[in-house]
Amino acid sequence: MHSKTFTILQKKKNQILELWLNNQLADEGLREDLISNQDLRASSEELVDVLVSSASDDNLENPESSDFDPVLEILAGVSMTRARQGFSPRETGLFVLGLKEALLTVLQEEMSDSPAELYTESLKISRLLDSFSIVTFETFIKGREDVILRQTDEIAEISTPVIRVWDGILALPIIGTLDSARTQVVMENLLQEIVETGSSIAILDISGVPAVDSLVAQHLIKTVSATRLMGAECIISGIRPEIAQTIVHLGIDLSSIITKATLASALRYAFSSLNLEVKKAIREKVSIR
Amino acid sequence: MIISLSKDVMTITRDQDVVPFRNRVKEKAVKIKMGLVNQTKLITAASELVRNMLKYGNGGETYIEIVSRGRDTGIRLTFKDKGPGIADISLAMQDGFSTGKSLGLGLPGTRRLVNEFDIKSEIGKGTTVSIIKWVNG
């Protein structure tokens, strides 16, 4: 003999689905821009189907039961996709809470004759759905974290271009804070490029670095020393006056490093140490048109 | 929570054992797709520790393990000798300190090359050093 709730679930499946869909469609926050009605219906239908088929008499009281794994899987999938599509946590949460609403409404209709039973059964459903919504939130946040991680990787990749400014001269503009992970990437890219191009001078431009503290200075010194070990020279350029001030106030010793105020003066230095000369061309004849 | 996925044991007794040991570490590092720079750091650290083990402990046992913690995978190396032990570990971990005739970069330098560094020593019984390098560390 099945419990009443279970029977109601089985019998009223379609009604629950319709109620739930109406709840979702009636909500002002429905994101028609992000998800079409068909998709919404499809994912709702799938969830209700799986929920009804995995529910049984005994597990309704036990949200941790492994019978609900398929439900959790779908929920995880839904909230993961929603996190990526840019749904807000509220909108994602309402998705599951709307189902609870629908289930409770149906229960109320069916059990209106026995309030005591309605109370216990509502409590069960409530607990079950609450635990589902926690899972939804957890996966939603995890989805967001994945997005952040991927962006971090992308930023790390795009933020350190090595430019060949001249035959034998490389320039590397650093923009943003220089932490140890970034230093590692900068060093690797720079040294690799030195090997590939056979360049003997590298210019590290720190115009885009907001602040230089002793840790950042240490990272810069490391990069310069590693470049030296490879047999190339490393110049640091783009030092703003306020950065020069902090460096001296902090007592950081950069005397072993060639520093220049601007990229232009670093380039001039590089040219002269490669015995190159840049001159304004003197045109003897008027150009023929 | 660190889980060990595989474990190799190698005994180091002579100078010449160092090269095969380094190769074995490299093999494992390549297997878990560790980048070249991290590989080099790990093998250099391993080389330092094996040398210490030979010099101060007359050799000993090494374990090479592939370990995982959450999403991270990495390599754990353990060096166990039955040497005289280290009297003052915090002193030994200082840059420039050495009882032998070396630069004294061994232990502190090695610590900078890896992600996790653990040393236990008992006078008269021996020293155990264990290091972990994560793939993305």
């Binding site: 060093m187 040294l191 020393s225 590693a226 047999g231 | 093998i43 250099t44 040398r51 630069l103 330098g109």
Partner: protein, 137 residues
């Protein structure tokens, strides 16, 4: 016994390290090189480590020693072709190889050596130049 060959090129000695160095091999290289510098009166030593994947503090010390010893015998030392990963690891280890000249490759290393010894070895240079001048005609 295994040995690392030392080639003589004019006033310079050229060493290419192609194998994984274990400690005794490195020590043998150190003494062989110093002997050679003395015997040939070489003015420069060029060590090519482009095939070396690992330089630990011991190897670093050997390189430093070779440079200092050669310096006493009036020869300059240039280390060429260090791998990026090796350079990063050495810096992290705290071993910037002060007092050792470096160059990107053998060719640049030779140029650097010539430059370094120019002052005191003027006539040797001239002889070399004459030779090459005749050769090209």
């Amino acid at each position: 016994m295994e040995k690392i060959p030392i080639l003589r090129m004019g006033p310079f000695l050229l060493v290419t390290i192609q194998v994984d160095l274990y400690d005794r091999l490195a020590l043998t290289l150190e003494s062989d090189l110093v002997q050679m510098v003395n015997k040939t009166g070489a003015r420069g030593v060029l060590i090519d480590i482009s095939a070396v994947a690992i330089v630990d503090s011991f190897m670093g010390r050997i390189i430093g020693n070779i440079a200092s010893m050669s310096k006493i015998l009036d020869a300059e030392t240039v280390v060429v072709g260090m791998q990026p990963a090796v350079a990063i690891t050495l810096i992290e280890l705290g071993l910037p190889l002060k007092g050792v000249y470096t160059a990107l490759n053998v060719e640049r290393g030779m140029d650097l050596l010539k430059l370094k010894i120019q002052g005191s070895a003027d006539h040797e240079e001239e002889e070399d130049d004459e030779d090459s001048a005749i050769y090209s005609e």
